[in-house]
Symmetry: C2
Subunit: 366 residues, 2 copies
Amino acid sequence: DVLRAARRGRLRFTGGNCNGICSVSTSLHALLSPVRPRLGDVAFVSQGGSPGVVTMGLTWKYGVGLSRYTNLGDEMDVKVHEVMEYYINDPRTRVVAAYLESVRDGRMLMETARRGVLKKPIVVYKSGVTEAGRRAAEAHVGALAGSEEVFNAVTKQTGMVRARTVEQLMGIAAAFSTQPLPKGRKVGIVTVGGGWGVVVADALGVGGGELVELTEEEVEYLNRFLPPHWSRQNPVDTTDGAFDPEVLVKCTETLIRKEEVDGVIVVGVGIIEAFVNLMVKDEDLRELGVQSEVNIAERIVKLRDRYQKPVLAATIYAERDSRVVEALKEMGMPVYDSPHTVASAFLAMAEYHDHVERIKRPYKPL
Amino acid sequence: DVLRAARRGRLRFTGGNCNGICSVSTSLHALLSPVRPRLGDVAFVSQGGSPGVVTMGLTWKYGVGLSRYTNLGDEMDVKVHEVMEYYINDPRTRVVAAYLESVRDGRMLMETARRGVLKKPIVVYKSGVTEAGRRAAEAHVGALAGSEEVFNAVTKQTGMVRARTVEQLMGIAAAFSTQPLPKGRKVGIVTVGGGWGVVVADALGVGGGELVELTEEEVEYLNRFLPPHWSRQNPVDTTDGAFDPEVLVKCTETLIRKEEVDGVIVVGVGIIEAFVNLMVKDEDLRELGVQSEVNIAERIVKLRDRYQKPVLAATIYAERDSRVVEALKEMGMPVYDSPHTVASAFLAMAEYHDHVERIKRPYKPL
């Protein structure tokens, strides 16, 4: 059979029942997929072909790229932990992402992951965790899928970060690929719309995220830039102040330089571009508006680099052809379309930071 | 002040601190939003302006339309239960959707909802349910937001359906707006990719969804159309059989006509169009391929109408300019981009069906 023939020729292979591999960084695409991934430093291993294709689509959405992709299918030869090991030692890869249905060699996977997370974050989406999903998985790649409880224990013990949706898998990988790690879960939120600030705060709260308080001095300072009806607390709701390009930068800076802030989420970038395109007839004027917002984006990215804290962007303008959003992605800022996904990305980074710190702490005898 | 002046003139108003209202069916747009909603029969009331704008964007994504939109802001005059009451009695509205942050008159809202759900489904997203979210909500519309537990009890008692994300709010409304209700949670899945079938099955399993079994006769029958390596069970994984236009229709029909099936989810529509656009140079041939898939879509919609069971479509091609996806939306089939959202939509319909049946059951004395 195929396996014996391969062994005889000292050839190793992925599959069967898979849609191929690709090495984005060397432009090798041995792949059955209508979508090609963006180039980047996330290496992705998948036990299913269609989740692989879905994920490649998501690389464009969030503005994150892949370095490698391997679809394992039913793992006649190469196993998932072997690919993971390769990714962990691959200099072109900064983040490892995995779609798992059923793990054949759990012990080896756990060993590989446990050591691996000390080098790079490993984000994993596991399907086949409910009765319905398990039955579907058994027919698909022909192996027993584990239960919800078992896999939860596996991620806790190894330090792999678990994504709860396929979208989160790539959304979380995007954050790891581009951001410094937060040292905790204290967040500053700047938003151009109060309601969306509440939704993001809630989504953070579900996973232990907290909002920092503004001092009186900070409120005074922001009063100088914001309209009188701004929120005067975190989330900093700029209301219509957002149409002044200076405002988003001042708000972000006020939050990120606070000692206790671990990271900032900016909600609504792209709003100037959207309104300008809608309401301004004159082309030069429109161009000026869009440029002013691209400039905001650049300055926000610089704040992240200066303070070495993560800054994530979320906006409802993420899915449309927005030059501001594209500029952010080009500068290495992932852009999220959903308040829930951006929150999960921040919390995942904090969780990984916690795990690594816990492991690295030297053993102290009593 | 504004309220007193309005009362004197017998004028009622929404706001303050809001972005307006619109009546899509009469083309009234008194609204500050860069996005206009699609026209349809979902009436939406929002306590926040930005969630309103987000939702209008989502109407295009899922292919569902709005009949009315009201942004209440801080509810100086008109309250959320009054708008809900109006929507419930509005002949242009089939589904009521609400974004809530903080409820001022809980008793009235519960009364309105309890009676309302017997006429129309009410889908609600509630923010401000965590500590972080609550604090943000208090600053935003200036009222106390309730806790997670309280609001869970409210939805259970009233029969309102709770959306867990902003995307689900519109995704669920889209299903109610277009589909017959499922009588239970037994699902048939047809998928062009095994992995995605597993993810959908899992997402259904989380909320009590079950997969029906295929009989030997049904497997035999499908053997005639599907390639030898198809899954031979539910989810029906067509593998590369999907490139034959007949296959998706035969699979859907086999599942939907089964007595015990309450609804069908079809995953991957748009795949022929995507591959044809990628690989076929000849324009006429390409047109032929796309047309063949539009034709599949039409026949699947007819199956839904004939059997009066819900059929939902999910595909990774939903976000790109796909003529097949647009055709489905035009025919009143919402199209989901995420396996998690499509599953939540199906489960929400089943939950609503359960509630209404329970209420309608006549009182039987012991």
